[in-house]
């Protein structure tokens, strides 16, 4: 008895499942009427099916961009699906399947090809600047597309041209993996390369790559000055020869050339110039005392010039030291230059003053004005007594004993 109750219980439990309303498929029949499998992008596509009994079917479309479901236009005995533009313009495989009652009844594929009646060209060139020689290159990348932005099929021919000076070179390339590309190697001359491409009689815009000169080669330098005297006022100009690269191009404007000047005491002075048309110039003031300079120019890491020597003769050979009536003002000068003219203003003059026990008290500095320099020794700071002073002008030192009363 228990078993029977148990069985009844189970029957009640599982027997209550609702019946599915699934219609029997055998009675419904769909047949595809469209035989065309290949279309051009943008062509109108209508998929037709004949049906029996029920017309409640939907068409699922899938392509690389996504999927959609279409509801048919029901005609007498046929169902017609119009593929929307978002699908028929997109080149590639398009898979369709007709769904009836959650089951795929018929399915198939459409192959949509790029529509070459209208072609666009996308072209990229980079880098935009390269250096002359055999190593560097710009790469031209061309992606021809149809009017619906589908890349053209593999094997489509693309003409590419590039011009440098008088030479125009032409290449025929083929689209592969959606695009085509070509390396344009730099010529040995600097200048600019213009590049263009065409496909299916569509032409691209003009693209440019600048060819900069290659690395500089060693060069020579020279100098120019008004006179050879160390007056601390005139300027000396250092100038390079025209600097070329390995291939005979003048190096790029703005290249920095450092001039390194070694003076008599071994100190390295420095002036910089940037090139214009291959020539760099830099200026320095004449020294204030007899000097001999050794100069070389550098484009660091690349090129170096010869070393030249320049010497300066002392402009001031002698000068006088005077004292005011109360001896409290030391007057230096007149400072005479190489033609016995007054030296240009600004010649540095220094005074060291020691007391009678040879302790350095102070270093005073001034510059000449109309050939004269003055130092004041006020009694507040220099009480009466004996002092030793040393004056230095243009490397000439003079020592004097000074008694202040």
């Amino acid at each position: 008895m228990k078993k029977i109750i148990y069985i009844w219980f189970l029957v009640l439990l599982f027997g209550c499942k609702g019946t599915t309303k699934k219609e029997v498929i055998q009675n419904v029949n769909f047949v595809s009427l469209s035989t065309k499998k290949t279309y051009k992008a943008g062509d109108a596509i209508h998929l037709k099916f004949s049906y029996t009994k029920s017309s409640k079917a939907v068409l699922i479309l899938k392509n690389a961009m996504g999927s959609t479901a279409l509801i048919p236009q029901v005609l007498d005995k046929t169902l017609e699906f119009a593929v929307p533009s978002s699908f028929n313009r997109y080149a590639g495989m398009c898979h369709w399947s007709l769904i009836y009652n959650q089951d795929v009844v018929v399915s198939g594929d459409l192959s949509i090809l790029p529509n070459s009646s209208k072609t666009h060209i996308e072209s990229y060139l980079g880098p935009r600047s390269i250096s002359a020689g055999e190593v560097d290159y710009s790469m031209m990348v061309i992606a021809p597309t149809d009017g619906y932005d589908n890349p053209l099929s593999a094997g489509t021919e693309v003409q590419m041209k590039h011009q440098f000076e008088n030479a125009i070179q032409e290449h025929t390339l083929e689209v592969k993996n959606l695009l085509t590309w070509k390396n344009i190697y730099a010529p040995t001359k600097s200048g600019r390369i213009l590049v263009t491409a065409s496909c299916n009689s569509t032409i691209s815009k003009e693209l440019t790559s600048i060819v900069f000169p290659d690395k500089a080669i060693d060069f020579s330098i020279n100098y120019e000055r008004n006179h050879g005297y160390a007056d601390g006022n005139q300027m000396i100009t250092f100038e390079t020869s025209i600097i070329y690269d390995t291939y005979g191009n003048i190096i790029s404007d703005g290249t920095l050339v450092s001039f390194l000047i070694e003076d008599t005491s071994g100190m390295l002075l420095r002036a910089m110039g940037t090139t214009i048309n291959g020539i760099a110039k830099a200026r320095l003031l004449h020294p204030t005392k007899k000097e001999s300079w050794k100069i070389s120019g550098y484009i660091t890491g690349v090129a170096k010039s010869n070393t030249i020597s320049v010497s300066f003769d002392a402009a001031i050979l002698d000068y006088k030291i005077g004292l005011s009536a109360n001896k409290r003002t030391v007057m230096v000068g007149p400072l005479e230059s190489f033609m016995q003219q007054i030296v240009p203003d600004g010649m540095p003059i220094s005074l060291h003053i020691w007391d009678s026990e040879n302790n350095l008290l102070e270093i005073k500095q001034t510059t000449s004005r109309l050939g004269m320099g003055e130092f004041n020794l006020p009694p507040e700071f220099f009480p009466n007594g004996t002092y030793k002073i040393t004056i230095e002008v243009s490397g000439l030192k003079k020592t004097k004993k000074l008694v202040l009363e």
Partner: protein
């Protein structure tokens, strides 16, 4: 029925006419008004969204009670933001005057005295200062509404009628939503004494005479009224918490981590007299003379609790003058609160008593007393003096902003707003410099974001919260610390997507240049735009701290709702009261007015003595002021005066301190001084001056002057000797001789390669065409190494622009430990030349400053000090480094025509001359000094900014003492992790720049034996202040 109070009407008319018209000239230049305007703009744009991205890389407006801002926002829909602001200000003025009237009426129970109170409130210097100088609109509205609520609270406790509980609570709610501090401290300082007064009045009702009130009776009455007091207290607590609940939640969630920012109200007013003036003298104003009377009245039995309260407020308002406020408030509260508000409350509290005094002085017993004792004329003179004093304080306070502007000149924002809107410039953050509080006005006009902001309690970036600076924008006023903080932002702007800087203060220009920024253009309004290359734009999705929707709705709805409710509840009574449409019984407090008969003689005497003391103090202050300004009494005075004059560029004055017999006339002096450009004369602020008298004689002296200057770049210490002479009792400085050097050429030519980059050639709203994007110039790292020196880690090295176009160079270094854990990342600041011509090299050094380290807590030094460094723990030892170098095509700041000449090395000092052979005046020359050892290996890099500029075809002498580099510890010299424009350095160098000749670098080294080095190299970098 009583007549309409004429004095109140008069006060309202004068108040609205006077304040209402003058706010148009003052409010926009106040400290706070524009901040509130910015908040209002936020609400006008997104009412319910509390997050604003425009300041501090995002902050929440729930950090400030919103009522005033939302009111301005609502009104801005009618006539714009400024219309809203001025309307709210006028409403504030009306509320304040009527509030003062009602407070006066409550306290004195006399309509006439209340009328006087309202009239005096109009002219009170504390109100003028709060409105016209500080612009604290929420504070004014909060306080005024609080004053309005006081009579209602009194009536509730006294009569127990529910109506008054509702009215008082409705007004408290409005106070809370407009200003959070006012009701909290208002509870303590206004409402508690008020409760005390109610109980006193209740006692008096029972015993009829004040004298008969004993503590016992008082306690009994307190017990009777206890539940009314408690119910009011509880309900208002609920309102204080509930009305601005999102504020409290936000404060809990984002506690203020800001280190205390110095505020003048915390100064010792005797030491910092300017703070004493602004935060003590002006608010108290004429009341200073009446302090004995105020305390005499407030310590009478009825007002006893007000007496205690006002004493407390007065003491707290003295800031750091006495140690008491610090002890009462505790360290934290003392450093967060601005103590001027206590003085504000004290002076507002004193108003009714001042009104009473005025009444008694004009038509009461004081008048009688004075006339009887000193005669009619004396009374009139005294009255005239008080009135005159008040008028003086009004004019003085109102004109303070005119004579000592707290803000830079008004800036036309339109060109900046247009700049930010064009060409996607708002895709990056910007930073205004030298804008003052007008930066808030700029922010409210644009959607572009800035890293700075003007409400420092809402800051989140540790770079800002750990610095005691108010804004980056005015960092120069915080000395070395402020500049240090600004430099951190300028050095690693990538971190904040900071690309544009609007500079209204040329003080900051040198640091911008030396940090690698470049001038873009000068806008029509004179603002210079600086830009930094290689900055990525702000991400399109930015993080924010979201809050629950309920809180957003509360925040958006409750504040204005409180106003509407308060309006509905209170309008009826006001309607009856003002229009006299219905007779209403006089409020309970009116029965406690006093008759004022027989002013005590002793008070007259005390007041006179007190006034005398105050006058003496003021006189003494003026005397000290004179002494300090008597500039030629002593040698030190004249030096101080001379440097002061130089600091403020008062050259005429400076010249007057020079020895008149030295035959340097003013024209000559001006000519000589005005041609000296350079960091000290154009970009420095004198920080401190130390004078040592080397010799002092009767008529002459010699002094060494050690000055410390704050410059945008670094602290500059300068030592100079001056000779001083005494002539006719005055001390003078002997002028220094000037360089007489004359350039040889009157007219000369200079040829240079100049560059121009179009930017976008095609005008498009789309992204820049790829043809218009230039290739990044190729750089090569020649050498780089990680070194440790004086406990500080640095990456030093040398880099070259190996391309054919000029490059702007950004170098970012990152440190790793043995476990490849990233420890710190920073950029090269001014230890490099940022602009390199083709084939130019520069040495560089990256110092890892505070914010560079990933755990800022451990490593951050408490104050910015270039010489101070917190060494990190041993496990965190950096052992490897990574260098990311980026080049971008540069076309500005490419001046290279400074030569190095007349070099000598004597007694450990390198002396030399910089000669400018080109046609641009170099404002700040910089020397980069690199040290090499005997194997010609790089050891260290140092820099030196020359204090004076180099004019065209002129010389500039310099001295440089090489440092001891023997303790430099080299940790890593591998170039393995060096990258240029994202590509490995080695391969790119091999391709673009093969067969490098390393001998060239070595040949350019200057043999110079020193401590720890055998060679050095000097490189020049020049900042041109005014490019021609």
């Amino acid at each position: 029925m009583k007549r309409t109070n004429v004095l109140l009407i008069l006060a309202l008319i004068i108040g609205i006419a006077f304040h209402g018209s003058s706010i148009f000239f003052t409010l926009e230049t106040t400290y706070d008004a524009l901040i509130h305007l910015f908040f209002a703009d936020h609400y006008a744009g997104s009412w319910f969204e509390p997050w604003d991205y425009r300041w501090y890389t995002g902050f929440t407006v729930q950090a400030y009670p919103p009522l005033v801002h939302q009111s301005i926002a609502i009104l801005s829909y009618i006539g714009g933001l400024k219309f809203g602001m001025f309307t709210v200000a006028i409403i504030g003025i009306i509320l304040f005057i009527t509030g003062a009237y009602r407070f006066g009426l409550l306290m004195t129970g006399d309509r006439r005295i209340a009328g006087y109170t309202s009239l005096l409130a109009v002219f009170s210097s504390t109100f003028i200062e709060t409105l016209h100088i500080f612009g604290q609109l929420p504070s004014i509205i909060g306080l005024s509404v609080l004053l309005h609520s006081l009579p209602e609270i009194y009536l509730w406790i006294k009569t127990g009628k529910r109506r008054y509980l509702y009215t008082s609570l409705s007004l408290i709610a409005v106070t809370v939503t407009s200003h959070h501090v006012t009701p909290i401290f208002g509870m303590v300082f206004f409402i508690f004494p008020l409760i005390g007064m109610v109980i006193m009045d209740a006692c008096k009702d029972e015993v009829k005479v004040n004298k008969a009130i004993t503590f016992k009776i008082f306690f009994q009455k307190f017990k009777i009224l206890f539940w009314r007091i408690v119910s009011f207290g509880m309900f208002s607590l609920v309102l204080i918490v509930g009305c601005i609940l999102p504020y409290w939640i936000n404060s809990k969630k984002n506690p203020i981590t800001q280190v205390p920012i110095p505020h003048g109200s915390r100064d010792n007013f005797l030491e910092v007299t300017s703070s004493g003036l602004v935060f003590f003298m002006i608010p108290w104003g004429i009341l200073l003379f009446l302090i004995p009377y105020i305390f005499y009245r407030y310590y009478s039995k009825r007002y006893l609790f007000f007496g205690l309260s006002i004493s407390m407020l007065t003491i707290l308002g003295t800031g750091g003058t006495t140690p008491i406020p610090l002890k009462i408030l505790g360290e934290t509260a003392f450093n967060i609160l601005t103590l001027d508000r206590f003085t504000l409350w004290a002076t507002i509290m004193a108003l009714p008593i001042f009104g009473e005094f005025a009444f008694r002085m004009v038509e009461g017993d004081i008048k009688e007393n004075l006339q009887n004792r000193f005669g009619r004329v004396y009374h009139r003179i005294l009255g005239g003096c008080i009135a005159g004093g008040m008028l003086f304080m009004i004019i003085f306070t109102m004109s303070l902003g005119y004579f000592r502007p707290s803000q830079p000149q008004k800036i036309k924002m339109l060109p900046i707003v247009n700049f930010l809107n064009q060409d996607n410039h708002d895709q990056w953050r910007y930073l205004p410099l030298g804008f003052g509080d007008q930066m808030a006005w700029l922010s409210s006009q644009t959607n572009a974001m800035t890293v700075d902001g003007n409400y420092h309690s809402a800051r989140r970036l540790p770079e800002l919260t750990t610095r005691a600076i108010e804004r980056l924008e005015n960092s120069k006023f915080r000395g070395v610390e402020g500049i240090g903080s600004l430099q951190q932002f300028l050095t690693v702007p990538e971190k904040y997507n900071l690309k544009y800087i609007f500079s209204n203060d040329k003080f900051y220009d040198p640091i911008l240049y030396f940090c690698g920024w470049q001038r873009l253009q000068q806008l029509e309004n004179g603002i210079m735009v600086w830009e930094k290359l290689n900055i990525p734009p702000v991400a399109s999705v930015l993080p924010k701290q979201d809050v629950h929707k309920a809180l957003k709705i509360m925040w958006g709805v409750i504040p204005l709702l409180t106003v509407i409710i308060a309006f509905i509840i209170n309008i009826q009574v006001i309607w009856y009261r003002v229009l006299k449409s219905r007779k209403i019984p006089p409020p309970a407090y009116l029965q406690y007015n006093l008759a004022f008969k027989g002013f005590p003689k002793i008070m007259v005497n005390v007041s006179h003595i007190w006034s005398l003391i105050v006058l003496l103090c003021i006189g003494y202050g003026f005397y000290l002021f004179y002494l300090k300004n008597a500039s030629q009494i002593a040698p030190t005075n004249v030096i101080n005066a001379y440097y002061d004059a130089l600091d403020f560029k008062e050259f005429g004055k400076a010249h007057s301190y020079l020895d008149p017999e030295s035959e340097v006339d003013l024209a000559q002096y001006m000519l000589e001084v005005s041609v000296t450009d350079g960091i000290l004369s154009s970009y420095a602020k004198l920080d401190s001056i130390g004078i040592t008298l080397l010799e002092e004689h009767e008529k002459s002296a010699k002094a060494r002057v050690d000055t410390r200057w704050i410059t945008p770049l670094e602290k500059v210490e300068k030592s100079e000797e001056h000779t001083l002479l005494k002539r006719n009792g005055n001390w003078y400085i002997q002028p220094k001789s000037f360089d007489n050097h004359l350039p040889p050429d009157q007219l000369f030519t200079s040829n240079n390669t100049a560059f121009f980059n179009h930017g976008r050639r095609r005008i498009t709203t789309q992204q820049t065409n790829h043809e218009d994007v230039l290739k990044q110039p190729v750089l090569e790292v020649i050498r780089a190494k990680l070194v440790k020196f004086k406990g500080q880690y640095s990456i030093i090295g040398e880099i070259q622009n190996v391309d054919n176009v000029p490059a702007d160079v950004v170098i970012n270094g990152t440190l790793y430990n043995d476990d490849d854990k990233e420890l710190a990342s920073y950029n090269a600041k001014y230890h490099m030349k940022h602009k390199l011509m083709p084939k130019e090299t520069t040495h560089f050094k990256i110092n890892f400053e505070g914010i560079a380290w990933s755990s800022t807590k451990d490593t951050l030094p408490p104050t910015f000090n270039p010489d101070e460094f917190t060494p990190i723990t041993l496990e965190e030892q950096p052992t490897k480094f990574n260098l990311q170098c980026a080049g971008n095509v540069a076309n500005t700041d490419l001046y290279k025509q400074v030569s190095l000449q007349q070099l000598s090395y004597q007694e450990g000092v390198i002396q030399g001359v910089l000669f400018n052979s080109g046609i641009q005046e170099v404002t700040i020359p910089q020397l980069l000094v690199s040290y090499y050892n005997d194997k010609k290996e790089l050891v260290w890099i140092d820099h030196n900014f020359l204090a004076e500029g180099v004019r065209i075809q002129r010389k500039q002498y310099f001295n440089y003492s090489p440092i001891n580099t023997s303790n430099v510890e080299v940790i890593n010299t591998s170039l393995e992790f060096c990258f240029v424009n994202g590509l490995p350095n080695a391969t790119i160098a091999e391709k673009i720049f093969p067969n490098r000749n390393y001998a060239h670098n070595e040949e350019q080294l200057q043999p110079l034996k020193g401590n720890g080095f055998d060679f050095i190299k000097l490189e020049m970098n020049s900042y041109i202040g005014n490019p021609k």
